[in-house]
């Protein structure tokens, strides 16, 4: 069995990046627990994964804003022996102008992108520690690297999640587990479809391929596609007194 032919919990499995990753894992014969809110869509993806070679694929409800949905997923995953892995693709990004008009929306964004997944992972972590193996893939965003006028609420939630992942890596590493933080640039998904100013857009499958390579090589933080590391390196180093006047 290869590194990835194990149990994988995928949170936010209706997203196109998650779908692409689930398919790749299916081909390696993984046992998949696809989690999200649209149960019809998840059931379709589960069938698809089975047809493509998954040892097992099931759909379970996960709502980042409803922590009662978390426990059953963890309970289901521990029924299976061997490594339990988890990939987190959840998050929500209302337009910044909409949030500015209704600041109460911040609650949901932070819940979806940070609090929900962090709570879930903290529930799962003891199981991973007990088994002494397993990988967490946390999908953040380059938006979390620096607050920008266009999406700083979403960015701040992703930054919070990235910091959480960094701490979780610190914790799980000493127990034999691993955490990969993934920062995708622009990806060709429903979220970016038709948004102006997109460039060097990556396909969801290319991102999934990068993620699984990072899992196999135990990378800590990856940007995907890789060149976003350099784009964000530049953006992070622009002095604040200049940056505050920019709108990028």
């Amino acid at each position: 069995m290869t590194q990835t032919a194990q149990t994988w919990i995928i949170l936010g499995a209706t997203s196109s990046m998650a779908r692409a990753m689930a398919r790749r894992l299916a081909k390696e014969g993984a046992m998949l627990i696809l989690c999200g809110r649209d149960m019809d869509d998840l059931a379709a993806s589960a069938e698809d994964c089975k047809a493509r070679g998954a040892a097992e694929a099931l759909a379970m409800r996960f709502d980042a804003r409803d922590s009662t949905s978390f426990g059953p997923i963890v309970e289901r995953a521990v029924l299976k022996e061997g490594a339990i892995n988890c990939a987190v693709f959840v998050g929500s990004m209302p337009e910044q102008s909409v949030i500015d008009a209704d600041p109460s929306l911040i609650d949901g964004v932070v819940q979806d992108s940070h609090i929900g997944p962090a709570t879930f992972l903290s529930m799962l972590a003891p199981q991973m520690e007990a088994r002494g193996q397993g990988t967490v893939v946390g999908v953040g965003s380059v938006a979390g690297d620096r607050g920008r006028i266009g999406n700083y609420v979403y960015g701040s939630a992703k930054a919070g999640f990235a910091t959480y992942l960094s701490g979780l890596r610190n914790r799980l590493t000493r127990a034999g587990g691993h955490v990969v933080t993934v920062k995708p640039g622009f990806v060709d998904t429903a979220m970016t479809w038709g948004i102006e100013g997109m460039f060097l857009v990556a396909s969801p499958d290319a991102v999934a391929k990068d993620i699984l390579r990072a899992v196999a090589k135990k990378k800590n933080v990856i940007y995907t596609p890789f060149f976003w590391r350099y784009i964000m390196l530049i953006i992070r180093h622009i002095p604040e007194f200049i940056f505050k006047k920019m709108s990028i």
Partner: protein, 439 residues
């Protein structure tokens, strides 16, 4: 955002369209969008001309709806979303002992497109057309969702091969056929003339039979080529997916007459004079060009057109005249195919009919469109027809009477889409839905 203004083209890239495109990722969002705006759908746009385009209007890109929805291992019936590429389906199931009974020349074509164009494969003489193996289709038009089967009558026959004019195909059930494995025993041999080709087709006993033809050959060599005959066999496919890509548009001379002549000569001699037999993963003989992504760029930025016709078996004389005309034009590319077809067809507007089908690619340059139009006239005179999945050149008057059941199709389409919300560029150009009213 739901709608994105895009400029998109058919595979030949000689025709393009600009318009708002939505790309739903879930069945629920597809239903919601179509309920608020009925528009035609397209998949991977592997049709060559403009059958998948809607210039100035809206369209649905189905490529993100590409999943297997259910599979019955007892019966071999699989339900898939319409945007699933047929090659993916073949790869997912061949190892389990099942294969789509009909696969077109590219695995990138989606199931929805295979139905709407009622495509055929190298085994048409044995298995008929794609639509004949479809058992159920979910059609969406506005707020209406219809599930149709071959027993549904006119709407079924107007949907299979119906160019998407009865509704957006959201899902379909296909009857797969059992297969021994995912390898193919392929025999290739040289054929020296058209007569020899026709005789070889008559004698061929294999399930998969197709001829590559040297469209630049003239005189004594007219109609020479390579006959490929294949049978699926058991075996283990160890090859890795190593697709190459054409990174940019090739310059104009890349497929100029002298280059093509030399290429074709070498391609012909590649197969030893006494022929050869080899065992290959099925994807190779099924989808020979899929290994080179974006091969359409070889034709440069102006793109290319493909002419494909089928003529009745007794009109071999026209086939010969066509090959003479093509050879003399110095416009042909290396991509030319000859095949004997059976009479299997699934719908009113399906292309296949008993006879010989000839397909030739032409770079989109001076003279090629005129040549294609001449070939189209010859096809009509011979009682044959051209293939809408390939056409980007014909004029409305040229195809009148080619499809004897067009009036039945028109009546069913009129009922299913009275507002004309699903009209595409090809349907407009060839006036496909209008001509009944005029007569």
């Amino acid at each position: 955002m739901t709608w994105n203004k895009l400029t998109y083209a058919g595979w030949g890239r000689a025709r393009s369209a600009t318009g708002q495109v939505a790309r739903p990722e879930r069945q629920s969002s597809l239903l919601r969008e179509i309920a608020s705006f009925a528009a035609p759908a397209f998949g991977m746009r592997r049709s060559y001309g403009d059958v998948a385009l809607n210039d100035g209007g809206r369209a649905y890109d189905m490529t993100r709806l590409d999943r297997v929805l259910s599979f019955d291992a007892e019966t071999g019936v699989v339900e898939v979303e319409a945007g699933m590429p047929i090659g993916d389906l073949g790869r997912a199931f061949a190892a389990k002992g099942w294969i789509p009974p009909v696969m077109p020349g590219t695995g990138f074509a989606t199931v929805g497109g295979c139905i709407a164009n009622d495509v055929h494969g190298k085994n048409h003489h044995v298995k008929g057309s794609f639509g004949q193996h479809v058992t159920e289709i979910t059609l969406i038009h506005g707020a209406e969702i219809k599930t149709i089967t071959p027993k549904s009558g006119a709407i079924w026959k107007a949907t299979v091969g119906g160019l998407g004019q009865t509704g957006v195909i959201a899902k379909a059930k296909l009857q797969l056929m059992p297969c021994k494995g995912d390898m193919m025993v392929l025999t290739e041999r040289r054929i020296d003339s058209l007569d020899e080709f026709l005789a070889a087709f008559d004698e061929s006993k294999t399930d998969y039979t197709v001829g590559w033809i040297d469209a630049t050959a003239t005189g004594a060599h007219l109609g020479r080529g390579i006959l490929e005959e294949g049978e699926i066999t058991s075996g283990i496919n160890n090859s890795k997916d190593g697709a190459k890509a054409v990174p940019f548009n090739a310059p104009g001379w890349a497929l100029s007459a002298p280059v093509v002549r030399v290429f074709n000569e070498l391609y012909f001699r590649r197969v030893p004079a006494k022929g050869r037999t080899s065992v290959k993963p099925i994807t190779e003989p099924f989808f020979p060009l899929d290994a080179i992504h974006n091969w359409n760029r070889l034709y440069g930025k102006h793109g290319f057109n493909q002419f494909q016709c089928v003529v009745p078996p007794e009109r071999v004389d026209v086939l010969r005249l066509m090959l003479e005309k093509i050879g003399a034009s110095h416009l042909a590319s290396p991509l030319a195919v000859l095949k004997k077809m059976g009479d299997g067809r699934g719908g009113y507007m399906s292309f296949p009919m008993e006879g010989y089908t000839l397909a030739v690619d032409f770079p989109n340059k001076d003279g090629s469109q005129e040549l294609i139009k001449e070939l189209t006239d010859m096809t009509l005179d011979a009682g044959g027809r051209i293939y809408f999945a390939k056409d980007g050149v014909a004029e409305a008057t040229q195809i009148k009477g080619m499809y004897p059941e067009q009036d039945k199709w028109q009546r069913a389409v009129e009922k299913a889409d009275p507002q004309g919300a699903l009209v595409t560029d090809l349907v407009r150009r060839l006036n496909l839905r209008e001509s009944a009213k005029e007569s």
